[in-house]
């Protein structure tokens, strides 16, 4: 192997691990220099608050994708979680959180069990769950015409209050992300997640409980999507039924931009955090440029995604040679 090839490979690995972070840093630096409004602490808080629900969804998606799966149901679960939380808030703070988590977790469990036990493709199973959860949401909201208003002050404060100038939900998400990092990198379950995605057969032969691991990641993904909807409802003060379409795709994009291999077996939560923030910052910047249609954000996100996937394909090829 030539020196150049080694350098290329190193650069490749570094890009895969820290690429999103590097791009994020560059984009933020440019934004700080070019956009006066971007510099205000308020704006930073806005970006973080907006990124909180997508962050939770992408966190769960990271676990799923590392096992080599995909979870398309999270967008629907996000909306369903929000509607259920608003509705249940009339029965108190605990119910407002427990009900959406229970329902979304159960749907995640169903996803996981179907995938693990029947061997059906995750794409199909979670697509079915996407449709099913959307239907469920419409049923409980009378075709989307009933908007439940949050009726519990404590619950509402979870979404609107702040601590040390930073929104409550940002703290909550930060803690959950840190927990997620510990689980993924420092527990047996985390190792099993990588092992299942790396080589299911090898993992099974080495005694990893493949099915339990698969089920685990889909339950986690369902719970986090439900929680994302819950904190969003707490912030908005109501269960909005029209948001959330396409959230699953944004989450997948963020995870992949963060360097997680779509084929499974490799990826980090730090990368996902960078991926979510990158998408959030781009959105924010486009809002700063007044005359630019916010749909451009999607064009730019799409371009980033394509770039990252091309880079990943190139990396996989490097590794094989």
């Amino acid at each position: 192997m030539t020196v150049l090839a080694v350098a290329q490979r190193r650069a490749g690995h570094a890009f895969q691990r820290q690429g999103a972070l590097a791009v994020l840093a560059v984009v933020v630096l440019i934004a700080l220099a070019a956009f006066p409004n971007f510099r205000s602490p308020d704006n930073a808080a806005t970006i973080l608050v907006a990124a909180a629900p997508p962050m939770l969804i992408a966190l769960g998606m990271t676990f799923v994708i590392i096992t080599g799966g995909i979870d398309l149901s999270v967008g629907s679960l996000y909306v369903l979680g929000g509607v259920l939380a608003s509705w249940a808030s009339q029965y108190g703070f605990v119910a407002a959180i427990a009900v959406p988590l229970a329902v979304c977790g159960a749907i995640g469990l169903l996803n996981g069990a179907l995938i693990a036990y029947t061997g059906m493709a995750p794409f199909i199973v979670t697509l079915a769950a996407l449709l099913g959860a959307r239907g469920l949401m419409r049923a409980v909201s009378d075709e989307g015409s009933t908007t439940y208003i949050v009726q519990n002050d404590a619950f509402h404060t979870l979404g609107t209050g702040s601590l040390l100038g930073i929104g409550n939900q940002v703290w909550l998400v930060a803690i959950i992300v840190l927990l997620g990092m510990v689980v993924l990198s420092r527990t047996r379950f985390g190792n099993a997640v990588y092992a299942v995605g790396g080589s299911e057969d090898a993992a099974a032969l080495m005694g990893v409980a493949v099915r339990r691991t698969r089920i685990g990641v889909y339950v986690l993904s369902g719970l986090l999507a439900g929680l994302a909807g819950t904190i969003n409802a707490a912030k908005l003060g109501s269960g909005v039924t029209v948001l959330g379409a396409g959230m699953e795709l944004d989450a997948i994009a963020a995870v992949v931009i963060g360097g997680t291999l779509l084929t499974g077996g490799a990826g980090t939560i730090a990368g996902t955090v960078a991926g979510v923030l990158l998408l959030g910052v781009i959105q924010n910047l486009i809002n700063q440029v007044g005359d630019l249609n916010s749909n451009w954000q999607q064009v730019i996100s799409g371009a980033f995604l394509a770039l990252v996937v091309v880079a990943q394909t190139y990396l996989v090829r490097l590794r094989r040679t």
């Binding site: 985390g190 190792n191 099993a192 092992a195 995605g197 090898a202 993992a203 099974a204 077996g265 490799a266």
Partner: protein, 503 residues
Amino acid sequence: MTLLEVAGVSKVFPGVRALDDVSFALRPGEVHALVGENGAGKSTLIKVLTGVYRPDAGELRYQGEPVSFATPMDAQRAGISTIYQEVNLIPLMSVAQNLFLGREPRTTLGLVDRARMDREARDILAGYGVTTDVRARLGSLPLGAQQMVALACAVMIDAKVVVMDEPTSSLEPREVETLFGVIQDLHERGIGIIYVSHRMDELYRICDTVTILRDGKLVHTGRLADLERVRLVALMLGREVSDVRREGFTVFSGDHAAADDTPVLRVSGLSSRNRLHDISFGVRPGEVVGLGGLLGAGRSETIKAIAGAYPVDRGEIEVDGAPLRHPTTVKAVAAGIAVQPEDRKAEGIIPGLSIRENIALSILPRMSTFGLVSDAKIDEVVDRFMKRLRIKAAGPHQRVGDLSGGNQQKVLLARLLATGPKVLLLDEPTRGIDVGAKAEVQALIDELAAEGLGVVLVSSDAEELVEGSGRVVVLRDGAVVGVLTGDDVTTESLLATIAEAGA
């Protein structure tokens, strides 16, 4: 006391009796060779022993108790570990993570203790001659080192039985020595080892006992040292050394006097990593040259290397006097080499397509004008070959998957011949097809050679090889160990050459 034994075990798959009333016993500290040609039932037996398959009949006893493993995991938990042919680890995870997967050391908080895991992994691997950064991704290690990690993994989980399936096939000589050291160590610790290999020298060096399977049946079990090499080979191949039947099974007509002396295929000094060493031979037009040897001797690799489907480090290949440099499959086909791969289903025919489509596949590129092919032209070629090869089918549009094995093989041959090759490489052309069809395929090979093609024939059936070939090049451990010509082309001398000690 026996550690692991099966008595009267049978396993039937649709159409095949993979194991037929086989008994096998492994004692503690014993290194037990399990040998047999392809399809003899070795893999099935191993899979029964390790919980992958449940036997249809017969009993499995482990440490004196009857047991039944539902999954490989159950067997592994009970102390039966397997190291598979292809390394079965997770390339994207670190060496240490692989070694401790599912049994990571944990801190009091229940978190994985990485420092301890890395330290222990380093210590353990040092005992296997592997000194590497245990935090590196496993996939970045050389294959030999990966295999050592797999072995360490198997032994670590307190194994009492270790099954090794061709463990040395991807190892360098130095690594083989390390492996033998480890096996010696396991032997002293009373761990039973089932060792599958085709390398005679290895077997005689490290194994105490041997069990020979053929066609799913037990043909011999006993002390290896008491068994002569030539006898072992004869038992594996199903031939009595002293009583070789010279006729009856095959319909090859034998020699085709070669038309002239210019070889249509010349191979010299062909080498590939540690699998092929300096292989040289030539094939004249009209000649059938057999490649003899046991499984793993390098026969298929040689064929694939000539066809551009196996990496070549050194050596020259000439087709009809023109050198074939850096062969790729495309270049090889263009030069006039047609290859019939060993696994007809996986690498050859496309079962879902019709006979016509399968044959047309290979000729499309050369029959097309501006990317278009006339149907009439294809029909003509397909019709010609169906008649020529006597393919029995309802018509050219029948699905190839619905044909019998023999007819599938003929479709494959038709496809090869349609490219107008000069050299035909045939790897096990009659495997898995019934006796009648076998004779027909053999007769066809004969005719094709008579028409001036150069044919290279690989067959595990010693009789077929000897009867069908004018010359037999005998391989062992990837090197040519002898060439049988003229009256020497007999099953006896083939077996003797295969079994010969040393190089």
